[in-house]
Point group: C2
Chain length 360, copies 2
DNA sequence: TTGAAAGCGCTAACAG
DNA sequence: CTGTTAGCGCTTTCAA
């Protein structure tokens, strides 16, 4: 199979310096090296010096994997997120990262494209890595079978001394050893729909998103509740949850206009969708807010980049990230005492220039 | 110190199932379990079954840390990036993540805020993790002392069987065991400046960025070369590299206008800056492109969200990420034979609606 | 086809 | 203050 001249044999991989190498060079035991490196035991100044010199000379870096084998945790947190470019997740991850850096933790981040199977596979993979916690951001579904899968992961993580944190996602219905950091998604949708109604709109379209996603489902719920509370009949032809992306917002809006549904206001499920709505409206020669009011959700910078600036629901994205990391690290005794704890952050309306009373 | 009733003692951390647990339950040796799990040795079907059943029953997940101790690598790639929200990095990381997923690798990602010290600290930390490679995206500086620091990391990583990959960054000047995946940054800046000149502009302002950052330095260089090539004198009062962010683009532009520098076109160093430029122009009652032409760089979605749509330089962000991951994984023998390899991806102009001939 | 045993690099008692 | 030693959970010869 492999001849003696096999190149793969020649290029034997260089080995990194180990604690024994350092110990030998410094003429001490490995225990002593460990002690000066961790600084958790008294070591004579002279010895310490000798060790440090050896470390420097060898360019020694402790092997975190070996350390993880004897220690409690890995100081690594896993993050499972649908995607990374959308500013919603961008800011959320930014908050996570800030908090992680402050706590001296590293983040493994992986994306699911919203596929539940991939989500589960990633959680399992991170469990193999023995991460101190895995934070699932905006889980893919909101149905019993999915909940069961997640609860199962929560159990197995917990049984390992790790834990599951749900972020920007509704808590699991059954009690399970997980923590949740959510935001008032439904309430925000209610408030902005309510605002639209207050200004005089009756025919309010909802554009973008997919009902399978919990976050989108919640927004729909808030929208419906506001309508119902004001005695406005729900018209399914006004609900266009046909997907994500600017393009989707644009085609949905075009369809809406083409079918002359009589909509006087559009609630875009997020700002990327709103950008598409703006495009379609411009193409149709409709002015915002004179001919059509537009409102959105999230309050990312895009809300102010568009003209006119969007009236939208502010979501505390970075704070959500920070809180999730806090939950991931929070005292483990407290955790075992009070498993399925839920933190819910508030949302609020930001009034800008895209909403006005209907024309007629 | 710790009384027998100490709560911390009671809450001893649950231990995960180990390979021995599985072996015992399946009445085989750990070696056999290892073999069926890795599928790299023949195992009798019946035995395999018994093992698999035990694995399922115990919810066993191999400990990646223990595995890393005996195996070649960790299947983890480290990514060090200035920040995560900016779509430039967002798309780049997206490309990295896609490629990593396809290759079954996990990504540790951490941000530096552009601070060289933090960058080095993160590389070192990832070295401790024994990542298979660390990808530094858009390094913080472009000066000898910084190059030395990086080259040093490249060496130590290489000496460990890992490697350093520079992405969206110029290659290190001295030969070092690193790979580079860059894009034609200077060329893109040259081309767009050239375009502006071709349309008739002579007073072209450069707005945003910081000269310390290599990427920004390169864009400045391209701008200067284009000017010089056309015999246009460089006017330092037209160069406003005072920072990042929409706000910075806005104040710089306002200042530019206030000082009546006679600029007829503005080259924004990226699209976020361009958004600020747009704001300032709108405030000053100037129309784009009639009263002022604006061009930008990167070609992120923001380029088409702004009105009018930006003429800009397209950067192959996702591809950059994919190539960087490829470089991180590429055959290690090839690597040791041909260390400081450089891949450079092309950029190109995208003509949209923000550039026209100067008014007078 | 399977098992025994020797590490991988580190930490943590336990002695001294 | 420092060294010895026994693992942590896994892979991998070497034998059987």
């Amino acid at each position: 199979m492999s001849s003696p001249a096999d190149p793969a044999q020649r290029t034997a991989h260089r080995r990194a310096a180990t604690i024994s190498d350092v110990a030998e060079l410094a003429s001490v035991s490995t225990a002593t090296v460990s002690r000066v490196l961790n600084g958790n035991y008294p070591v004579a100044a002279a010895t310490r010096d000798r060790v440090m010199r050896a470390v420097a000379k060898l360019g020694y870096a402790a092997n975190a994997n070996a350390r993880a084998l004897t220690r409690a945790g890995t100081e690594i947190i896993g993050v499972v997120v649908p995607e990374i470019v959308d500013p919603f997740f961008g800011y959320l991850i930014h908050g996570l990262e800030q908090a992680a850096a402050e706590a001296g933790r590293l983040l493994i981040v992986a994306t699911t494209s919203g596929e539940p199977e991939r989500e589960m596979a990633l959680i399992d993979r991170m469990r193999e890595q023995r991460v101190d916690a895995v934070i699932v951001v905006s889980g893919a579904r909101d149905e019993p079978s999915y909940h069961r899968l997640l609860a199962q992961r929560a159990e197995s993580l917990e049984g390992m001394g790790s834990r599951l944190v749900l972020c920007a996602h509704p808590p699991l219905p059954q009690p399970s050893p997980s923590r949740t950091v959510a935001y008032d998604n439904e309430g925000g949708a209610f408030a902005i729909t309510e605002h639209l109604i207050g200004v005089g709109h009756r025919r309010i379209a909802l554009v973008g998103g997919r009902r399978t996603l919990p976050a989108m489902r919640n927004r729909l719920d808030g929208y419906l509740r506001a309508l119902t509370a004001r005695g406005i009949e729900v018209d399914e032809t006004l609900i266009r949850m046909d997907g994500f992306g600017r393009h989707s917002g644009r085609t949905s809006t075009a369809a809406l206009l083409g079918e002359s549904t009589g909509a006087t206001a559009i609630l875009a499920v997020n700002e990327t969708i709103a950008a598409g709505v703006y495009e379609a409206l411009a193409e149709a020669g409709l002015r915002i807010p004179d001919d059509m009011s537009v409102a959105a959700y999230d309050d990312t910078p895009l809300a102010t980049d568009l003209t006119p600036k969007l009236t939208t629901v502010h979501v505390p994205l970075e704070q959500l990230g920070r809180e999730a990391l806090r939950a991931a690290l929070a005292d483990r005794d407290a955790f075992s005492r009070d498993p399925d704890e839920v933190v819910t952050l508030g949302t609020y309306l930001v009034h800008r220039d895209s909403v006005a009373a209907p024309a007629h």
